[in-house]
Symmetry: D3
Subunit: 272 residues, 6 copies
């Protein structure tokens, strides 16, 4: 390929691009520390999935007699990698005092929650099996249901979000969003036995509260009424509450922080 550009032209191009960096600081990250590493966070999601669902992902030949070595090594690996990401995220967001100590403490507390997370995720698997006649067995759900994957990642991210870790939970949930089309903010509060069927297009906002035994179909929005208030609304409850045993069919939008869907309601979005 001939490269016949006169050198002055190419130099001008380089200079004009650099000039555009100087002109607009919001979209550059120069002379600054490490921000985050999306690939690193995605790897941690997969390692946590191995830990949560032993034998489904990663090594499939686990034997109970030697399980502790596998689990121990996996926990060491997760602890090291997650501490690094949390540390970077804390440094980026704050002045960084004691960031490493805080990161280590957060990760220690976080990993201690794994058994509780497993208990609640088992109810989610059961909800999927009970709710989907097409499910052949529970293995198929753990292994391949996008709704279950999105909920798993959301529960993992929620525990970091609840401990004040910036950016990392967002990268986790956006990864699940990218893979499944299900966009659950890590701040949402979701009780046990939760099932999202099909799931593409589901949006669950930051301040949503969801009770037990709730079921959502694809395209459901649990959103804000209006965000014209922008950053002034930060922290305000803007998204609805769904009480226990609510079902919301595909395409419904339930909006607003004061909206409550009462226990057992079945919400039909529209006539078909």
């Amino acid at each position: 390929m001939s490269n016949t550009t006169p050198v002055s032209d190419f130099s001008e191009l380089v200079e004009s691009v650099i000039g555009s960096y100087l002109a607009e600081p919001k979209t550059r990250h120069i002379d600054a520390g490490e921000l985050a590493n999306r690939d690193g966070v995605v790897e941690i999601v997969h390692l946590l999935r191995e830990l949560l669902f032993p034998g489904y992902f990663g090594r499939q030949d686990l034997a109970s007699s030697t399980l502790k070595y596998h689990v121990g090594e996996l926990l060491l690996d997760i602890r090291e990698k997650l501490t690094r990401q949390v540390h970077n995220a804390l440094l980026h967001a704050t002045t960084g005092n004691h960031a490493l100590t805080r990161a280590e403490q957060i990760v220690r507390d976080y990993l201690a929650e794994i058994p509780k997370l497993r208990a609640i995720l088992a109810t989610d698997v059961q909800a999927a099996f009970d709710g989907d006649p097409a499910a052949a067995d529970t293995d198929e759900i753990v292994f391949s249901y996008p709704g279950f994957f999105a909920v798993s990642v959301c529960r993992l991210a929620h525990e970091l979000h609840a401990r004040g870790v910036p950016l990392v939970p967002r990268i986790m949930t956006e990864y699940a969003h990218s893979v499944t089309g299900i966009d659950i903010h890590a701040g949402a509060s979701i009780d046990e036995y939760f099932f999202i069927d099909h799931g593409t297009g589901v949006v669950i906002g930051e301040t949503t509260i969801i009770g037990k035994r709730v079921k959502l179909y694809q395209g459901v929005t649990l959103g804000a009424l209006s965000t014209r208030g922008g950053q002034r609304l930060r922290g305000v409850k803007r998204h609805p509450t769904l009480e226990d045993e609510v079902t919301v069919y595909s395409g419904a939008s339930i909006l607003g922080g004061e909206t409550v869907i009462g226990k057992g309601v079945v919400n039909w979005s529209r006539a078909s």
Copy 2:
């Protein structure tokens, strides 16, 4: 990174995670055989796409004079890899008698269907070209249309599903779902000249029947009325029938096993 955890704490963490494995069998797969290999199935999808659409994917420099060697080697590779996955899936689902013989027979019959699949996929390409003014030529459709990709994978998975192969068709269609946002159950019956435009959010349920020359837009649900019956509904026709030449516009939900959209109907989901 300092690793100052007292050893007893870390051992306790390991033990508590293992305890949660013992407590909840639905989300563990320990002391059991190989379940399935998602990456292996995804690779097979890509090899089958090379076989179906020669010269678009994989090697682009195919010459008709030497085509048979390429096709033969590709078929050998697919045959070996697919037989292994089908074999594992049969072992997982059944007592495993004659599983290998059955897997080999299924794969042999399956590969013999490739010419028929090519014939029907050619009608799908034509449907996309006729239905989308933005399509510059048919190459663009084969190469880049997500709706066509999802339908191709669904037709490939359907033939395995029809032969009683568990899990593998599901992994195939969930892969297409993840890439395109189009969720077609491998059990759905879809006739020729089918086109899904844009496609994100489309759901087509397990017992759906779709006639010839049907066109769907993004966000269309062909679903069940209610699944409160759960596993008792397994095998029952729960999803609608679309007769020939039906068009369903974006966001429409057509629900229920007894719902029939008659020939030539154009379904508008809502006023805009």
Copy 3:
């Protein structure tokens, strides 16, 4: 694995597949030149993202004192790779006279637009920050918002589409579609300060015109009324116009080339 197929059977299988290639030319690409390389185009998207948002993607340790070497090398890499893809695309679509010269000229003009693209993308970041109370800072938007990613790729693809490059812009936008569930045709005209929140299921058609300070939510369709006219409609304005400061809430469909949503309108798709 025993390979007991009699040789004649396997030869017959090979012959039948090849026969199906001869029977159906629309889904084969044999005895023809290189068509395009999806992986190559996706790599270019990522390199352009590094160029547009320095320090967020790729190397994070950029220093302003040595920035010009990094930018220069990146531009050289993009120029070479993009020229090759544009060249192949032009060869495929036309008779190929002067294709290389034209490709080089197109890429030169294209890269000169990068500073303008950065300026308009900075308004998009601001729109996301102003419109989403959940956004902690603008870094999070650049780094992880799928709506911003889709709009970035669309603006990059639009400039190639406007210069008459076939196939490559489509591969770019379909890649963004696959990752985000947001399907924006590279032909759409989109003014500054544009924000798509959540985004899964959004469709923006080829001849759509969008003004300044417009905001869309997930599942919004800006589509055609009917495409029954098929290829005869090619080039006709089939998609709506949204004037400045329009907001369209989730799930709305706005259809037709003559539809205009006037300045400042807030469009509610449906009661919930």
Copy 4:
């Protein structure tokens, strides 16, 4: 690239190559089981090196408080992979009765030797440090000395060879040969505190016996007098014996099964 070969010519080429397979069985391996997997054996060498020298290779951040998990997982991984290779090797060499049981027993016995191997390898490190004024510390020897690497691999291979495992020890030592230029047959018997300096060109034959505190330089051959007897010599002691504290300088050839270099001898190959 034009592919203008007439099809008959290319078919003839294929047929002539296949004809040459039929003509010469010694250099084909068709219609037969899996032979061995060089890459798999090389991976095992590296895992064993991690096990033998913790913290030098693989993970460098090991803490004694959590070491057992790392070691346990590593041993499980090695046990599984080595059992598979030994099993294949036994199947290839014998009628295969009880091959899996034998492979499992061999690997179990083999791994129990690791502590003894570590003890003798520590004497080899000391020998290198004592014998090479250029060595800054023992870490440098473990980390980068080719002679120490070759001896480590040889000791690992020797234990498999002594248990009757075919092919695998050979692949191990040929890997070390390829990396270091040092060719030690896995059958050689080598006592503690052994050092090979520089090492390229060293050959140590199958029936060599080497005492304690022996040092060899590059290019030394401990070989057979003549192998004209070919396969009839199989199993006969054909290579020399070096008693304790022998030093052999570069380029010397010591040949023959009855040759004994007595305790403490320093062998000069030639005047310089």
Copy 5:
């Protein structure tokens, strides 16, 4: 890592390195075409080894009933890749007229030699088996003997060298040299039933002639007497001739173009 270099210093460093490029043309390759691709040539060596020794390298599950597809596809792959490398090498060395046509002709002739190469390599395997009591079977020789690998690559490179291809044969033999320590120039003429035992340090010069049933040990040099004449000696016979059934033991140097080692001679390099 702080990057505190003042910008002028770094710019000066860049300029001084570029200045050194201008000052010394022998070690730069700028404003010039593609030279060669070492990785590409190494890949071809491995593909040719798969072709020569079916079932040992690459796929191990070959069945004679479907072999022709595997061989055909492999030959197509080799033909395409080798033609590209030969083409580049011819362009680099000559004015490039008809370089592509010549490259295609050379590769066509070259591949037609494969059956003859297989026949002679079978004699080499036999020679190794007859000559090494440590060889358990011929599979072990094909699979793991470095001498056999080096001779295989040399015979492959020799056929390209004999057809006037520059650079590519050299890259092939230097690759074998790097792996085995055996340095055979592609120009050397070597008859059947040839065996190099151990092999590290063997050098066989460009104009060497070796008869049938010759055996060399490690460290043997078949070299030139003096190369003080430098480039004036180009093309002159500078290396020895070994007649049939010669054996040369380790470390011997046989030098000079007029030196002939007569039939059946056994050459001892030195007393030990």
Copy 6:
């Protein structure tokens, strides 16, 4: 694979291996900092080779008009990676005060030597061309001669060794040793126009001094007379001096710190 080991046996195995770690500190690296990263150092060697010989390795399409961007980016990459390795090596060897500042200073000084290194390496290329009638052109030497590669790496390592960097120069030269069979200690002092032909088995010791226009053949040792003194000899001149225009033929050993081979001597190792 059945995993029937009783758990107590496996636990005992783990404990016995860990016990062997406690027993022998010389071959463990536990509860300690990062030691070094061989893969990282090897990558730096390849980046430095790209910098020294532009257009031969890495990108081959360099144009002088845009060279400065390529060189600048390459230097930034090398600077960052080499600083990290040197920093780790200094930390390992010393108490670590100011280790980062020292590492940055060392790398800055080191990179300033690149032009001088290029000048002397150009004389080495010329020496190879003048000395080897088989060399077709100088490109072939830069691209494929192992002797030239080993000398290049040695000169690169020597400059780090001379600045007191531990471990890194050793890893560099051992990498070259592994690839070429040529073992040059980074401490050796080697003047311009140096050529090693074939090279396998060459050893050049730490305190060797080599003048201008020297040529070595394969298997030459420039070594120490005896190293029985072990670590007491550290720093003493133990290896010979070769004055200008010396040639040493294959297999010769020249030993001892007081040995001087005078100007112009041609050393024959032995009668053949």
